[in-house]
């Protein structure tokens, strides 16, 4: 099922009533020692929505994603996923993470395992699938993303783009409700970026709810229902791509986009 949200991003106006809420972040604060990296993040995402976060390095994009995945403990605020508050005390952290997939900038594949074992590790150990079942599911996913012939390779023998696609498949194998993508093309050679972006486009077309930190402005414009501009730990501005990228209200946003434009990345 495709959400086909209008570029305006007003997903509620699609005639089927308000779609269910996928993610709600309220007043999220996070510090590393003296350094306050997130200073009150509020964000609500609908199911099937794709939100891109842009902003300079150090603006808190990665930290925000890691907080949503509970890889970083938060200092204040609430995170609600599919109606369940995951930041409540006593929540089973491992179970929450099963529902939230994350793909990292540096892939973080397991170098000692083959592609198929990378993908099936969590389904077998966490979802407790028998090996055969996990492998046939994984094979299907690898096939879908053009990696069928790589299943017996170890990660170090793959190109960066292939590794990142394996990492995405590995996250998908847990059937997450939300996928977090943390600058997944930043570590890639330029000619390998598009194969990874194509995978993400396909996921968006398939209705996957995604929160994406990215430096690829053109990609963000194409794929996002909404774009948020992160600056010094706050979402300074948020709206449909056309608004944010072409006609930003905030001077800081304009300044950032100008720098990106000067660097030739828009």
């Amino acid at each position: 099922m495709s959400a086909e949200a209008s570029p305006g991003g007003d997903a509620a106006a699609n005639g089927r009533g308000a779609p269910a809420e996928a993610l709600r972040i309220e007043g999220l604060h996070k510090s590393f020692g003296q350094l306050e990296v997130l200073r009150g993040i509020d964000l609500v995402m609908a199911e099937h929505e794709v939100v891109c976060l842009i902003g300079a390095s150090g603006s808190g994009k990665s930290t925000l994603l890691r907080c949503v995945n509970l890889l970083e403990p938060i200092d204040a605020g609430r995170i609600v996923v599919g109606g369940t508050e995951i930041t409540a005390p006593g929540v089973h952290v491992d179970r929450v993470r099963q529902r939230i997939g994350i793909v990292f900038q540096a892939f973080n594949l397991f170098p000692h395992l083959s592609v198929i074992d990378n993908v099936t590790l969590a389904p077998r150990r966490v979802r407790k699938l028998p090996r055969a079942e996990a492998e046939s599911e994984a094979a299907e996913l690898l096939e879908r993303f053009g990696l069928a012939d790589k299943r017996r390779e170890v990660p170090d023998r793959l190109s960066g783009g292939q590794q990142q696609r394996v990492a995405i498949v590995r996250a998908l194998a847990m059937r997450p409700d939300i996928l977090l993508l943390d600058e997944v093309t930043s570590a890639l050679d330029p000619e390998l970026v598009s194969e990874v972006l194509d995978v993400i486009r396909e996921l968006a077309a398939g209705g996957m709810t995604m929160l994406i930190a990215t430096h690829e402005m053109g990609f963000a414009r194409d794929i996002a229902d909404r774009i948020g501009f992160l600056d010094e730990g706050r979402i300074l501005e948020m709206g449909p791509p056309s608004g944010i990228l072409s006609d930003p209200h905030e001077p800081r946003t304009r300044q950032f986009l100008q720098r990106v434009l000067d660097a030739g990345r828009l």
Partner: protein
């Protein structure tokens, strides 16, 4: 120019030949001089008969080798146990979180204690102390206490080796595993430890070399292994050659292991495996 295998050159390089000859000549001169000095020392004939007696050597070697079987039993059993106990200790020390503090404290105290106390003392205390408690059959084989003592001591060293390996695995590997829903224990078991073990094989084998040699210490609690046996035959023959024979036996069994360590290190075991894609 044709492409050549970088490690091999065809045909003798005159410079290489010259330096090989030079090395050979230097060895002949140095070792020749050393041997000449020893052989012409005033006490040499006496030393030769008491330490390097061929007759005694060949007469006592079969008995020594029989006794060495005990050493082999000791170190093989201890090594297996050390691998297991060391890994358990290292895993205990690698559990994060306040709940696991007592476990971490215990394993830290353990490794501190058993690395601090001389191994021979542990062998003594266990070998004489535990039977002295009167809780177990006093005829219990002393080899058992030897194995337990060696295991306790070397597990402390080996757990440190494992821990260094575990800590050398980049936290992003654990993060990736945890992000998929694996628990900390599952992440250790399936992601961190398999990579860590690969890295620590060379230092692990180094500890095993030490352990193999330390099996002679078990002779102190009455186990007639190769060293105790050599003392006995030495006393019976009024000759020290059996000690030299024991030394040779250890050289023969240990040197291949040392070279295995070097070979593995060259093959990339022990070096940082590239964390997939992170750093190239």
């Amino acid at each position: 120019m044709t492409v050549q295998h970088p490690a091999r050159r065809r045909g003798p390089d005159p410079r290489a030949v010259r330096s090989s000859l030079l090395a050979l000549a230097s060895c002949v001169v140095v070792f020749g001089a050393l041997i000449w000095i020893v052989v012409n020392a005033p006490g040499w004939p006496a030393v030769q008969t008491s330490f390097l007696n061929g007759q005694v050597f060949w007469d006592t070697l079969p008995g020594l080798l029989d006794a060495f079987i005990i050493n082999i039993q000791l170190f093989v059993t201890a090594e297996v146990l050390v691998l297991v106990l060391g890994l358990v200790l290292a895993t205990m020390r690698s559990l994060h979180g306040p709940v696991f503090l007592p476990i971490r404290v215990l394993s830290n105290a353990y490794t501190d204690l058993f690395r601090a106390v001389p191994g021979v003392l542990v062998i003594f205390i266990l070998g004489f102390g535990i039977p002295g408690l009167g809780l177990i059959d006093p005829k219990t084989d002393q080899r058992l206490f030897g194995i337990i003592a060696l295991t306790l001591v070397y597990a402390a060293y080996v757990s440190e080796v494992y821990r260094a390996g575990i800590e050398s695995i980049h936290p992003s590997q654990d993060a990736a595993a945890r992000s998929l829903g694996l628990s900390r224990m599952q992440s250790l078991r399936h992601v961190v430890i398999p990579q860590a073990v690969r890295r620590v094989i060379p230092p692990l084998l180094n500890d095993f070399i030490g352990l193999q040699k330390d099996t002679v210490l078990v002779s102190f609690i009455g186990v007639v292994e190769i060293f105790r046996y050599s003392q006995i035959v030495s006393a019976a023959t009024y000759n020290f050659t059996p000690y030299v024979a024991v030394g040779l036996v250890f050289v023969v069994i240990t040197v291949p292991l040392i070279h295995l360590v070097d070979w593995l290190a060259k093959r990339g075991f022990g070096s940082a495996v590239t964390a997939s894609g992170a750093v190239r």
